[in-house]
């Protein structure tokens, strides 16, 4: 073996990349070659220097990466998803009859169907979010407007005596759905991010 070939084997030997046959023939060469033995000692020292290099302060990329892909830290625990499931299922059960029978109040059967359709849309959307929580933020505008409108009209109707507190009270379910959506979407972190300077 010539020394050039030996140098390559010394390098590979340091990295544990030689086959058994290569290791053996290198050992034989080293026995008879003082230059290569010296070279081996130098390369071993180089390898050690690289290994004991000072620790770099590596910045944490994970949080930046997660934000760069628009993935928020989802808020709340697993329980929020189950709670949302319960809310969505309740909404579905309460409003499904409305979709098919139209209305329990006189006359406005067709309008009742429309109402049923809206409620079912919300219920199914909430079910979907319970399954895929990262979708929560997309549903918030629609759910917020719906809940706000329902609450405002309920308050007005109760004040004018056109409706009872009892009959309107089940809109609490839609409100609960909205709150759970907000928690699940990591809403609070979102607001904090918006007002925090973007780290470079």
């Amino acid at each position: 073996m010539d020394c050039d070939r030996a140098h390559e084997l010394i390098s590979a030997e340091l990295d544990g990349e030689n086959s058994e046959a290569e290791s053996t023939s290198l050992a034989e060469h080293l026995l008879g070659c003082a230059d290569c033995r010296a070279r081996q000692a130098e390369l071993e020292q180089l390898r050690r220097r690289v290994m004991v290099r000072p620790a770099e302060s590596i910045p944490d990329q994970a949080s930046l990466v997660m934000r760069s892909v628009g993935v928020p830290d989802l808020g709340g625990g697993e329980w929020v998803r189950y709670a949302l499931f319960v809310v969505a299922a309740t909404l579905l059960l309460l409003d499904l009859p409305l979709l098919f029978t139209g209305s329990d109040t006189d006359g406005a059967e067709h309008l009742g169907r429309h109402l049923g359709a809206f409620s079912m849309a919300l219920a199914l959307a909430l079910l979907y979010v319970a399954w895929r929580p990262e979708r929560a933020i997309g549903l918030i505008p629609m759910a917020a407007v719906l809940a706000a409108t329902l609450v405002v009209t309920a308050v007005i109707d109760i004040a004018l005596g056109r409706s009872e507190v009892i009959t309107e009270s089940y809109h609490v379910i839609e409100l609960a759905g909205l709150v759970l959506l907000w928690v699940i979407s990591g809403g609070r972190q979102r607001l904090r991010h918006r007002f925090a300077p973007i780290p470079r």
Partner: protein, 174 residues
């Protein structure tokens, strides 16, 4: 399947906790490669861009390869693109280079770091992948897109070059 690859597969299928764990498990290697391949370019930005590119093509990731090697291949390409762009920013680079070699003079590592920048890019790359990132020759070959034997000889040549440069520097200062 190794644990990093398992995380990448889970992340591809929509598991965000796995995505975060994947980034945390690989970020040191990616950053290190960017730091030394990117010609003292801003390693933070390069690492970020590497992950941005990786996420864009994550849906195409197949689990028959190693996710670490896949990611480092992307990091390598990101650094190569940045180096091409960096021609416009040469002055900035030279300033960076100067601060690197001015660092703590008592450290052997600073000495190696300084001469590492001067050896041929493909040798430097082979050295980084195997010695700093700690890949096997086979993995390094997958990342660099060359045969294992080529990595083997490049690592050996890189070591020769480093020894020579360090000896040369020592002779100059003596």
């Amino acid at each position: 399947m190794d644990s990093v690859t398992a995380l990448a597969v889970a992340a591809r299928d929509g598991d965000q906790k796995a995505l975060e764990a994947f980034v945390r498990a690989t970020q040191a290697d990616v950053w290190r490669l960017c730091r030394y391949l990117g010609d003292a370019w801003n390693a933070d930005d390069l690492a970020q861009e590497t992950y941005a590119r990786a996420l864009r093509s994550l849906h195409r990731f197949r689990q028959d390869g190693s996710a670490r090697a896949w990611l480092l291949t992307i990091a390598r390409r990101t650094c190569a693109d940045a180096t091409r762009r960096a021609i416009r920013h040469r002055r900035f680079l030279e300033r960076e280079r100067a601060t690197v070699s001015e660092g703590a003079p008592d450290s052997h590592w600073v000495e190696i770091e300084g001469v590492l920048a001067d050896i041929a890019p493909e040798r430097r790359e082979a050295f980084l992948l195997t010695q700093l990132v700690g890949l096997s020759y086979e993995e390094a070959a997958a990342v660099a897109g060359c045969p294992v034997g080529t990595i083997r000889s490049r690592v050996a040549r890189a070591r020769e070059d480093l020894m020579q440069s360090i000896d040369g520097d020592a002779a100059e200062t003596a």
